[in-house]
């Protein structure tokens, strides 16, 4: 083999490696943006069926202990980690915008759907219910959270009630803005009197430099019954 041959052989090897690396990166994008959605869709279907079945029966005593309350949080129910606890509707973003909220915000919990911070208020309760969800991967439930405006409805469906919340404002905060999860946001230890809902997701899209926070205030609880739907969900 001449020096020129050797050089050509080496160059070809490097070229092939680079092309392979490019294909692997592309495949990773496909995995993140498509394959993770398939996982979440399947999990959401299972959770939705479970929730429907669970709500059709009388409430079972919880198997898990109620989590530690945040100071200022009045009362809490106990949910199993990773179990579906409610449905969340974002009717202004489209009729298909409904997700099952799971208990917990660990990596595994959030792969299943939007997660409820343990220790924050339950759906419709006094205090601040905090729910986090993926922006771009795993079903991207909170992909279009930035399109919510003050006055827009967010509906939570629990066992017995539809809770219609109205968006009061949107802020972009730093990832360590833990005060957003306080029962009275950013007033740690204060006793809550309002019924708030806080949604968080990463911001900007495909990044995690900041967090997008949407806050909403409970407008009306509506007892569930046959044919009963909150006005915000009518015409769906």
């Amino acid at each position: 083999m001449t020096t020129a041959d050797r050089f050509r052989w080496l160059l070809r090897g490097v070229g092939q490696l680079l092309i392979t690396a490019g294909v692997v990166v592309l495949l990773f994008c496909v995995y993140e943006l498509k394959v993770t959605n398939l996982y979440t869709e399947q999990q959401q279907r299972t959770l939705d069926t479970q929730l429907t079945r669970e709500w059709a029966e009388p409430p079972a005593p919880p198997t898990a202990r109620a989590p530690a309350r945040k100071p200022g949080q009045v009362q809490l129910a106990a949910f199993d980690d990773g179990a579906g606890i409610a449905r969340i509707y974002l009717p202004t973003l489209g009729r298909d915008q409904v997700h099952v909220v799971v208990e917990g915000v660990s990596r595994e919990d959030l792969k299943k759907g939007p997660g409820h911070y343990p220790g924050t208020a339950d759906p419709g309760a006094v205090g601040n219910m905090v729910v986090s969800g993926h922006r771009t991967t795993y079903g991207a439930p909170f992909n279009r959270l930035d399109e919510l405006h003050p006055g827009d409805a967010i509906v939570l469906e629990s066992r017995a009630f539809f809770y219609t919340y109205r968006v009061t404002g949107t802020t972009v905060v730093s990832p360590d803005a833990l005060g957003e999860t306080d029962p009275v946001p950013n007033h740690p230890g204060e006793v809550a009197t309002q019924r708030l809902l806080t949604l968080t997701t990463c911001n900007p899209k495909y990044s995690a430099r900041t967090r997008l926070v949407v806050r909403a205030l409970l407008e009306t609880p509506l007892a569930k019954g046959t044919g009963v739907l909150p006005p915000a969900l009518l015409g769906r």
Partner: protein, 61 residues
């Protein structure tokens, strides 16, 4: 690299093509089922919650 693999596959053209497809499927499966799920947590865009950040500047609770 690829020409080396191609040279070392046994059998006639059709059989070699079949083997190539199997190898390709195995490589993609390895990436999707093992490599990507492990790489994913290292990337930041799945951080959607607000929490105490593990940096020196934040006081521990």
């Amino acid at each position: 690299m690829y020409s080396w693999i191609w040279r070392h596959l046994p059998g006639p053209l059709a059989v070699r093509l079949g083997q190539l497809l199997v190898l390709l499927a195995a490589a993609v499966a390895l990436l999707f089922l093992v490599v990507f799920p492990r790489v994913e947590p290292l990337l930041p865009y799945s951080d959607v919650t607000v929490k105490q950040q593990p940096t020196a500047s934040t006081p521990t609770p």
